[in-house]
Symmetry: D2
Subunit: 330 residues, 4 copies
């Protein structure tokens, strides 16, 4: 249903906003701000404020913060560190104040004490969908050590309890991710769930260069695979932050956008009258059977996933544990 209503598939609120702006010159109930840094990083914030706006955008109400770094795909450790720090700040900004109290989220030195379950969504066996599982591989997991030895094992007054899980995809488990996550949350009672997933973008130029963080959880149809049934505060029982990076574009979207460009470029008057959904329909008719279930991804996706999983786990580790190295003394 959702899929028919919002045929242009993107998991990025930024792209939905761009599309709305183009079609209608903006949208009531959606706030948009953009900040360009000197280091080439752009931070955009989309706030969907009303139910009407949520319906039009095809995304739930809440905050969507996007970090765009055109050179994220380059192999430059220093630059990646900068992005990790930006990411850590944005994560801190969205942490629930009820759990951590008032903090200056722009400073990363402060130590926190919050109990977080990181969920690595996606399929480890399919490269562009492996981001979530690989981030878990690189997280600094502390919960079991604190449980057994106490927080003083880390020589800190304050230390966050971090646990992680890779639920797998439904074809491998026979279960919805939501079933697994809800079960684990009920047993282990974290203050917060943070999901990490590979996303679908509309624009191929964003693949591997954009990180979205939202406090709305994961919306149905998100991700590459079939992670159905929303993971959010309502369904899971604790607040859910969702962090994602677009790694694929839906094949039908690529074709549809190409047609739009063609039609515009050629001034094909008999086609120009078509609205977006009619063009979609046309694309679907011409191509659907063979493109169904296909996605578009870059050839160097393995290197990109490797880099991104380090960058994101570093961002999470810094956000949750503070910006200094931790070691357990046990």
């Amino acid at each position: 249903m959702m899929e028919e209503a919002y045929p242009i598939r993107t998991d990025l609120a930024l792209e939905s906003q761009e599309s709305m702006k183009k079609d209608r010159g903006g949208l009531k109930g959606v706030d948009f701000q953009e900040e360009k840094r000197e280091n080439g990083i752009t931070i955009s914030t989309v706030v969907i404020q009303t139910e009407n706006a949520a319906k039009s955008m095809g995304k739930p109400r809440g905050h969507y913060i996007t970090i765009e770094a055109p050179e994220m795909e380059e192999d430059d450790a220093g630059y990646h560190r900068e992005i990790s720090m930006e990411l850590a700040k944005i994560i801190r900004r969205l942490l629930p104040e009820s759990k951590i109290g008032k903090i200056d989220w722009q400073s990363l030195d402060e130590e926190l004490e919050i109990s977080v379950l990181i969920v690595g969504l996606g399929n480890r066996e399919v490269t562009p969908d492996a981001l979530g599982p690989r981030v878990i591989d690189n997280m600094f997991i502390t919960r079991h050590i604190i449980k057994e030895f106490g927080k003083y094992a880390f020589g800190s007054e304050k230390i966050s309890k971090i646990s992680g899980i890779v639920p797998g995809v439904m074809a491998q488990t026979g279960m919805e991710c939501l079933e697994i996550v809800r079960g684990v949350v009920n047993e282990t009672k974290p203050d917060l769930v943070i999901t990490v997933d590979a996303l679908a973008a509309r624009n191929a130029k964003r693949l591997g260069r954009t990180i979205q963080l939202t406090d709305t959880g994961i919306t149905p149809g998100s991700g590459i695979g079939n992670h159905r049934n929303a993971l959010n505060e309502k369904s899971v029982g604790v607040p859910v932050l969702s962090l994602g990076v677009p790694t694929v574009v839906d094949a039908a979207t690529i074709v549809s956008d190409a047609m739009t460009s063609l039609i515009e470029a050629m001034s094909l008057s008999n086609l120009e009258k078509l609205d977006e959904s009619e063009k979609q329909e046309l694309a679907r008719e011409l191509l659907s059977p063979q493109l169904h279930g296909m996605f578009v991804t870059p050839k160097d996706i393995d290197a990109a996933i490797k880099r991104l999983s380090f960058l994101i786990s570093e961002g999470l580790n810094i956000a949750l544990l503070g910006n200094k190295e931790k070691t357990a003394d046990i």
Copy 2:
């Protein structure tokens, strides 16, 4: 504590029974039967009948059935199929009658209808501990298909609902396996949990050649890693069958056994007076610091794990779905 009381580490009830027999000429409350097949396969059944016997054996009351096939490690598809069929029968024999009714467990043709969660314990990244996760990779998962399309998607009147999970190890997740499994069971309500795990044996000649199936769940200290907190009907809430294959021997055990042999062979009168635990103590004193946390495993363990994971998943698939190929027609 357990570890001091039962210093010779084995996860095989068969080996505990052998050890008891040798030391004391048998044990009250333990029933033992052995059946040798023409094809070289031996099936042994140890039944621990009383709490006293359980205490002496260091294993909970219940049935422990062991399949020994000396040529299991050879690369012979026909022979593996035979073992899978034997395994399937033994699995059927231990399925709870309250769920499946009365069946002739020696026949594999009958179709069953039971809802089972298969749990692949262990660490996918450490070869001898990867058996459980690899078995899940090869299972025929049906739950999500039945949930969405009904059992008629398989063209059968009866079909078991199979789901699977790889909980990971505590160092990667920060959580006990029990916490994850209990959470998932609470959400998805299977009739039965079957765990699959790599085990520790006492005798290196059993590595990769023995399958143990028990209706007691997994006892503390089992497995290679630290899967603490027993998974059994009491802790999980539904019956738990546990299937395991020994893939390692504890390094201290190897050394301790060698010393025992040495002492016997040399008729070292001043040492012969030592009882088992004094010899253990001696072995420990001489070696402990460097062998702590070490295990012994065969060099061709990767090929063994690959073969065994196919063999076991085939046994489970046949047991739960009946001995004919299934395909979903969706």
Copy 3:
């Protein structure tokens, strides 16, 4: 250069032939035959006979045999076995007579004695490019056993010497595949090289359902990645058979085909006059920057690669060793 001359990217001679037929009603110097079996399998043979035809087709002179099995992607072991047998026959048909003598290639019972290096091209870390490496994982490797124990270790009069290598991709090795393969061939002197690679098709419906076997080696630009520098008898020094399965479509091809369909469907007279390369050019202009280096692949590609790598290694094992199980008795 090649890429500009033959902008529609396909590694399947069958598709080049289809395209030629459509555009020009057939091509001199290209022979085409098609045989449809009762089991739904179609076997097509394209023979490129002349240099002119080779130039037009963008593929070297030689035989290209294609097995199409629409249900190859389904999970049916019996059907896969049938395809493996067909594949084995076709492999036998293309084996060099100078090495194996005259055989009845339609019978698979005969044992052969030929020394073959199987080369698994592609990148194990990128799912749709992992076919070659995964096939090597499943090959029955015999060369080292024969070298050490003699062929009687297998209890056979005749047994093929099979070796295998996964050269990796240039970004991981810094070397051309050709450099590695040529070096290994010079050292180990096989009679024949058989390469296995993931291919690019033009038509998404062929992904995972088509196997191409050719005696021409691998042509420049083939495969998903950058396996440049042809591997063929001339460059490698021994005959090269190449076996491939399309697992991706170039993103630009998808878009270009969509445009062609659009233009045809809409009868856009001002565009219909464009020839194929002008349409390509148009597609490129409209889209190139963001689709450069992108490919299209199915969402269930991991399961497909797993199935296909078994199917192909079984076909190779049967072709080279005869249709009965082998075990080394050492």
Copy 4:
């Protein structure tokens, strides 16, 4: 043969030297120096100077430099960086002067220009044997970029050409590593080969805490698996440096050492007269059938391999490219 003559299996010259010293109070023709750093790192140098000494030590003539860092297995990025720097210096010290000219090996700032093939020995599928392949995954490979774009792509006057290969193990390839490496060296003509391999130690306390670097190549029987046929300047055609980390102890060694300790501790006079090889023989008789082909390894070997492969690749990257970050500008 070698194996019978030198039954105590260790790949560390340092351990052979210790054993010689203990038995005979030192050895003519073997020079030994040890340097303890403030940071807890110990650097030892064993130089085997004569053929006689080589025979007694069971290792070829040449330099064996060992870095021991007791805390190498801890998770401390700063400390790992220090070890990588030490390693880089030692690698520079053993680089052939004929290729790089005179350099101050203690300084890592100087850029070099040498063409090196890194060979990752071992089996990626068996955790303690996966060190070599994992190091290749982390190397900064430059040869193909320099070949295509020239060294100015790196903005440097001087840049080393680095290529890498994972030859696989004989059971997977049917070929000796030597055959593959010699073939690749003949084709690509590097100045130098550097092998990386997991080693066997005698003393379990050295596992994962010791790096050995030698200019003698790899001696027969080294490594965990069967990488037979020495890789050295004579067999390969260019100088061979070999870098290794002990990750396993042979199971028979552990037992044999335990017996020696027992005999010493108990003052078993009838056994004390046995010399080393008689004790070995005794251990063998008591235990051999079941320990044959078994090894001992730590339980946390996966984390250790991950850390060590980063540490070593960083050492190699710094040694060969100089101590500043490189990025290709292409």
